[in-house]
């Protein structure tokens, strides 16, 4: 059999695996791979400006297309720069394969130039990782890595390839699919769990579907099934930050997001429910609020592909370890087979309507300053009017929460945000990755003035690949979310939470060959948004918003769902040490 170099084997495997895009940055330890990719006819390489950017681009690509994101970086600093994005992908269960160069095997352990213990550093921020010391094993490892990254609970996988292994040759043939010795994620639910869940749902008086990112990860079919099951049962639906879009924001049973910045009706429904069906969510601390007061009178069903998510935080009555789509399909089938009808939930809905009447997302409009919530609401309206496919990414902070609250998502894979790790610097590269995977969509990154500066260098990447992404900055000249916590906890001592020396974002846009638009006040808002949407190329919008607005409703750390703050008048300005110690 003809032998191929390790680098050629890698490229061959990427082709076999259907990889179309690689986000990467070259360096000494990956030169052989870059040479193998030189002028490659089908695999497109996107040259980033910083390896962290590559990882978030891969995440954005993966989240918006359902395909794994692929990253290629050099050893040492290339690999360490990728660590934040790898950890982000682990926390949000994003399928990603990161190929890192390594010093040649004979130099490993000698503190060689640009040597870092990449498998050591990434061992606990990957789903799995490999150091491949033999070119004959490379093909098997690469195929296995993609399998692990994309199946079960998805996640990042690192493959560290020493430079001599990229050059040495081995016989290559496409590996046959083999049964893995130890990795067998359970995807099909046990019948007993499905049975119990369906019967509990049929008998419940105050049921709620609490859905999460697992519904998105399971694929669009899972969202369709969720809608079907929700319609059949008539139960209300709420979602975590990561699950937005699985159930449509315009749907009749939608309660809005739950948790720390969720709606009054979503959090109260959770608190008063007699049955919670948790679908692909994980009882995160942003969602539960104070644990001993979380959904105190409910029975709970938890559907999750990851057994370790079950009973980790909240004990449940019925555990269903399965792929969400598969479990929902079983539940829909059994509900029909048993001839269940939607129960009369009118009393429950009347109670929910009472909470809805609080209009917890309302805010005081302002004639002279743009309220950030208004900016998002107008952006939503303008985007919807285009009739285009819209993808929204965000950075991290108040703007992220306002986007979650005031932009409606009617389909999965259209909302990309860093939930678990909360990584400032995620949103803009994620938008570039999403635009790569969805060339015809209108991709907008809703950013904050501080977050956008964390990966702003990727403007060059968007210019180079003619990607018409839009950055919509809610510029409050503060790290608004930090300032908000300082107002809640530290009597408004704004220690280092202001944005000094901001760049002129319009000039910055021009410097990169982008279009820059400044929106100074309410009168320019609509036209500014229009201009952004109508500009064919990449655009930065510097939208000057009310500087001291805070994000409500809010459940402060350590408080119960029923102890929401609805507006600034309820902020006390200090907290107990116990509450201060929480995140």
């Amino acid at each position: 059999m003809a032998e191929k170099s390790g680098a050629d084997i890698l490229v061959e495997c990427l082709l076999d695996l259907g990889v179309e895009v690689v986000f990467g940055y070259p360096g000494g330890a990956v030169l052989p791979i870059y040479d193998a990719l030189f002028n490659h006819p089908t695999i497109k390489h996107v040259l980033v400006r910083h390896e962290q950017g590559a990882t978030h681009m891969a995440e954005g690509y993966a989240r918006s297309t359902g395909k794994p994101g692929v990253v290629l970086v050099t050893s040492g600093p290339g690999a360490t720069n990728a660590v934040t994005g790898i950890t982000d992908a682990l926390m949000d269960s994003i399928p990603m394969v990161v190929i890192t160069g390594q010093v040649p095997t004979q130099l490993i352990g000698t503190d060689a130039f640009q040597e870092a213990d990449t498998v050591g550093i990434t061992r606990h921020c990957t789903k799995h990782n490999y150091l491949v010391k033999d070119p004959a094993k490379l093909a098997g490892v690469i195929h296995e890595a993609f399998h692990i990254a994309t199946t079960g609970r998805p996640g990042p996988v690192v493959i560290d390839i020493p430079k001599n292994v990229q050059i040495a040759t081995a016989p290559y043939k496409r590996p046959e699919p083999v049964a893995h010795a130890s990795y067998h994620p359970q995807t099909k639910a046990d019948a007993a769990g499905i049975d119990a869940a369906v019967e509990m749902l049929a008998a419940a008086e105050r049921p709620v579907f609490y859905t999460g990112g697992g519904v998105i990860n399971s694929g669009p079919e899972a969202s369709t099934l969720l809608r079907e099951l929700a319609a059949m049962t008539g139960a209300p639906v709420t979602s975590t930050l990561m699950g937005l879009g699985a159930y449509p924001a315009t749907g009749p049973q939608w309660l809005g997001m739950l948790g720390m910045h969720g709606t009054y009706e979503a959090n109260f429904a959770m608190n008063k429910a007699d049955l919670i069906i948790c679908v692909g969510a994980r009882f995160d601390d942003r969602v539960t609020g104070r644990l001993d007061a979380f959904a105190p009178n409910s029975r709970k069903v938890h559907i999750d592909i990851d057994r370790s998510s079950i009973n980790k935080i909240v004990d449940v009555d019925v555990a269903i370890v399965a792929d969400v789509g598969s479990a929902l399909s079983d539940m829909v089938a059994l509900w029909k087979a048993r001839g269940h009808e939607a129960a009369d939930l009118s009393a429950w809905w009347a109670q929910i309507d009472g909470w809805r009447a609080k209009k917890s997302l309302d805010y005081a409009e302002n004639a002279t300053e743009i309220m950030p919530q208004r900016a998002i609401a107008d952006l939503y309206k303008a985007c919807t009017a285009t009739g285009k496919d819209i993808i929204i990414t965000t950075e991290v902070g108040q703007h992220q929460m306002w986007a979650a609250q005031h932009f409606g998502f009617d389909a999965p894979n259209k909302w990309l945000t860093s939930g678990g790790l909360g990584t400032m610097g995620y949103g803009f590269p994620a938008a570039i990755g999403a635009q790569m995977g969805n060339p015809d969509s209108l991709v907008i990154c809703v950013a904050g003035d501080a977050s956008i500066q964390m990966n702003i260098q990727e403007m060059g990447t968007a210019s180079q690949y003619r990607l018409p992404v839009k950055i919509f900055i809610l510029n409050n000249e503060y790290m608004g979310m930090v300032r908000q916590w300082q107002e809640l906890t530290y009597q408004s001592r704004y220690s280092n939470s202001y944005s000094d020396s901001l760049p002129d974002f319009v000039k910055l846009a021009e410097a990169y060959g982008w279009t820059g638009i400044r929106i100074d006040g309410p009168d320019d808002l609509e036209s500014g948004i229009r201009a952004m949407i109508d500009t064919p190329g990449p655009v930065i919008v510097d939208c000057r918003v009310a500087k001291l607005s805070n994000c409500f409703p809010m459940i402060p750390s350590g408080a119960a769902h029923t102890e929401m703050l609805l507006d600034p008048s309820q902020v006390k300005g200090s907290m107990t040490d116990e509450a201060k110690a929480l995140v």
């Binding site: 061992r123 606990h124 150091l131 692990i148 130890s182 990851d306 079950i310 009973n311 116990e578």
Partner: protein, 171 residues
């Protein structure tokens, strides 16, 4: 503000794992990263082709934490099977210790007498010292070492616990 701790129970976990580079770091790192305890950990290759190792971990924690430890271990790609021996019925557990004791005269005789009671073997001797080899449960080894301390304990090496369920089945 003070930090509170929960009541914990001792559990012996038995894992089979693929025998690959980094597996021990993966497991040990999981325990440190998630704040679980390791009282002892043993690992050795157990198959003819050297493909699989058995790891026995003695840990302690509240029941919920033990359940999480099991689930987190099971999630690691190279882990084949995780069994909580403490929960899965009757099982045998043993550890081996080498115990060096120095002394002369009556102490020497007493050390030998106690070793006999504990079925410990003498594996090395000089005029002034013995090394005993003892196997047994952790408690038995603890007791033996405790007694030797009163006579002239010099140093101890222990393997940590290995365990298997009783009966003809494998776990």
């Amino acid at each position: 503000m003070h930090i509170q701790e929960e009541l914990s129970q001792r559990h012996v976990l038995s894992l089979t794992v693929s025998n690959e580079a980094g597996i021990l770091a993966r497991i040990a790192g999981l325990f440190t990263a998630r704040g679980y305890n390791i009282d002892s950990l043993t690992v050795a290759d157990i198959t003819q082709d050297h493909g699989v190792s058995r790891i026995t971990i003695v840990t302690n924690g509240p029941p919920k934490v033990i359940d999480q430890i099991m689930a987190q271990l099971d999630r690691l790609v190279p882990v084949h099977k995780v069994t909580d021996l403490t929960e899965s019925g009757p099982f045998v557990e043993r550890e081996l210790a080498l115990v060096k004791v120095a002394g002369v005269g009556e102490d020497r005789i007493e050390a030998l007498r106690l070793a006999d009671v504990f079925r410990a073997k003498v594996v090395d001797t000089t005029i002034e010292s013995f090394i005993f080899e003892i196997t047994g449960t952790t408690d038995k080894v603890d007791n033996f070492v405790g007694l030797m301390r009163q006579i002239g304990l010099v140093e101890v090496g222990r393997t940590g616990v290995v365990g298997l369920i009783r009966g003809k089945e494998a776990i």
